[in-house]
């Protein structure tokens, strides 16, 4: 007879095991690890070199301070495809069925993937931030703000992970994953205020740029690292994160339950 406490302990262990599995799958592929760490650094370097004068001359302050948070944010989006693939294969290769035969709660798999992916995101983001530090990016608002910087990043990563999991569960083919995730992410990345300030966009697009979750998150992170408004962008970011995560979690769980019952 299992007590409530034993159930909670069991759930906790399962989630830890599945998180570890998710992380280990990633670490097992050296090319994935190398690219996850190198991509943001290369992107950051290239953006500063190529667009530094074009944008920097038109904006006050260092271009690095604007672009580094955005690049750090893109470490979340780079994770999306592998996160979606991971769950897609788990669902298609019978892992869910095997888990159902075991005395394990299958929802722990989902939770494990979420935590594993967030752990990945935060570590890679830290590396990217270190690289940005090397080319002039500084946390000018103090250590507490720096922690908040990563907390906001993790929140964004949480939302991104749920989107990936939902897509991984709902698509019918592997190619659809790249198509569904790749292009919209690219658009959101470009049409955000991290790349260039909102005023540089055509008037018709500026409202869209303003409410873009990548913009609001980047603005929050810029505020936390170089100074500037934090509360406003933070509230918008939290609204996005809560809304989208809830929607994707509901849809993903529904599909997950359909697959496992």
């Amino acid at each position: 007879m299992t007590t409530q406490l034993e159930l909670v302990r069991a759930r906790y262990t399962e989630i830890v095991v599945f998180s570890g599995r998710s992380i280990r799958q990633f670490l097992r592929s050296p090319s994935a690890v190398v690219s996850a760490t190198i991509f943001p650094i290369v992107m950051l370097g290239m953006q500063v070199i190529t667009f530094g004068r074009l944008v920097g001359d038109a904006v006050p302050g260092d271009y690095v301070d604007r672009v580094a948070p955005l690049v750090v944010l893109t470490t979340c989006t780079f994770v999306m495809e592998t996160a979606a693939f991971g769950l897609y294969y788990d669902a298609r290769t019978g892992l869910l069925d095997r888990l159902r035969t075991m005395a394990v709660s299958v929802t722990s798999l989902l939770a494990g993937r979420v935590f594993g992916d967030i752990a990945r995101i935060v570590v890679v983001a830290a590396i990217a931030t270190a690289a940005a530090h090397a080319i002039g990016f500084r946390f000018a608002e103090g250590p507490l703000a720096a922690l908040a910087f990563f907390a906001v990043l993790a929140a964004f990563g949480f939302m991104v992970t749920w989107i990936s999991l939902m897509v991984g569960l709902l698509v019918s083919s592997r190619v659809a994953i790249s198509g569904l995730l790749g292009l919209p992410t690219l658009l959101l990345y470009f049409l955000s205020s991290g790349f260039v300030p909102v005023e540089a966009f055509p008037e018709a697009l500026q409202p869209f740029v303003r409410i873009n979750p990548m913009s609001t998150t980047t603005e929050t992170m810029i505020g936390l690292s170089s100074g500037g408004p934090v509360a406003g962008p933070l509230l918008q970011t939290l609204a996005w994160v809560t809304g989208i995560s809830l929607l994707c979690a509901v849809l993903a769980s529904r599909k997950f339950r359909a697959l496992t019952h």
Binding site: V34, S35, F39, M43, M46, I49, F51, A58, L186, Y189
Partner: protein
């Protein structure tokens, strides 16, 4: 008579006519299987996405620098899509290798060179579609072929030639690697470096001084400047010849590498 000829093992392998015929057949097969309706949509959508996004982001800033981005950007998107086509070619090679198709084709009495050549055909078709879509879309924001019809045709041919030369290189890569899953990752860094360290998106003068020579000599810059010249009011011989030279060099080097890689894996 035809049945006998079809089962004859003599005369189906060597020679240019056999090569051309086999390439035509295999190329048609590759094109048909990789370009379903859904894929075509995505293939067309990708350059449009980049185009819209970059135009939205940089048009105003570039206007402040005195550059008409509507005329400046479309050739850059065209060149970028040729590079992405080359990366896609690696995937096709990987698919054909992993599914065993390449081995099966090699056991057949057909001209073996047609196997990688057919992939180049598919790459050329893909590039042509994306070039067409990009040019059509850019007309909507004001891009114009300020030369004549001949210059417009030369524009498309030059871009397609660059796509084929690059794809020959990635075919060589695809035939040499063992782990196809990570090839895309490995190619991404050189792609980004070539993409950014060029005059695709910003003029060379906006780069740090020490990088300007690199940017100006890059093959990517050469091709995009040639395309801009062809689309512009006056065609300058130097950029166009420079681009052609780069394409010939790359095509020869990569083509040889691809051929050698294919022979070695037999």
């Amino acid at each position: 008579m035809t049945a006998v000829a079809a089962t004859s093992f003599v005369g189906t392998e060597r020679g240019f006519l056999n090569f051309a015929h086999a390439t035509w057949v295999l190329g048609g097969r590759t094109v048909r299987t990789t370009f379903s309706a859904g894929r075509l949509f995505l293939i067309a959508l990708a350059p449009l996405t980049f185009f819209v996004a970059l135009q939205a982001v940089f048009a105003k800033l570039m206007a402040a620098q005195g550059v008409d981005y509507a005329q400046f950007l479309p050739p850059a998107i065209v060149v970028q899509t040729t590079m992405i086509t080359a990366m896609w070619t690696v995937m096709v090679v990987g698919e054909q290798r992993m599914s065993g198709l390449m081995d099966r084709l090699r056991t057949m009495p057909i001209n073996h060179g047609a196997v990688p050549a057919s992939i180049l055909v598919a790459a050329a078709v893909r590039a042509a579609v994306q070039i067409g879509v990009t040019v059509a879309a850019s007309y909507l924001v004001g891009f114009r072929f300020l030369g004549g019809i001949a210059e417009a045709i030369a524009f498309v041919l030059l871009a397609a030639a660059f796509a084929v030369a690059l794809s020959a290189g990635t075919i060589a890569v695809g035939l040499n690697v063992t782990d196809h899953g990570s090839v895309a990752n490995t190619l991404f860094v050189p792609y980004i470096l070539l993409l950014m360290l060029s005059t695709l998106f910003v003029p060379a003068t906006l780069f740090p001084g020490w990088l300007q020579p690199v940017v100006e000599l890059s093959p990517v810059s050469a091709v995009v400047e040639a395309l801009r010249s062809l689309a512009g009011p006056e065609q300058a011989a130097v950029p166009i010849l420079f681009a052609v030279a780069w394409i010939v060099v790359l095509g020869t080097v990569f083509g040889t590498a691809a051929r050698r890689a294919f022979r070695r894996s037999e």
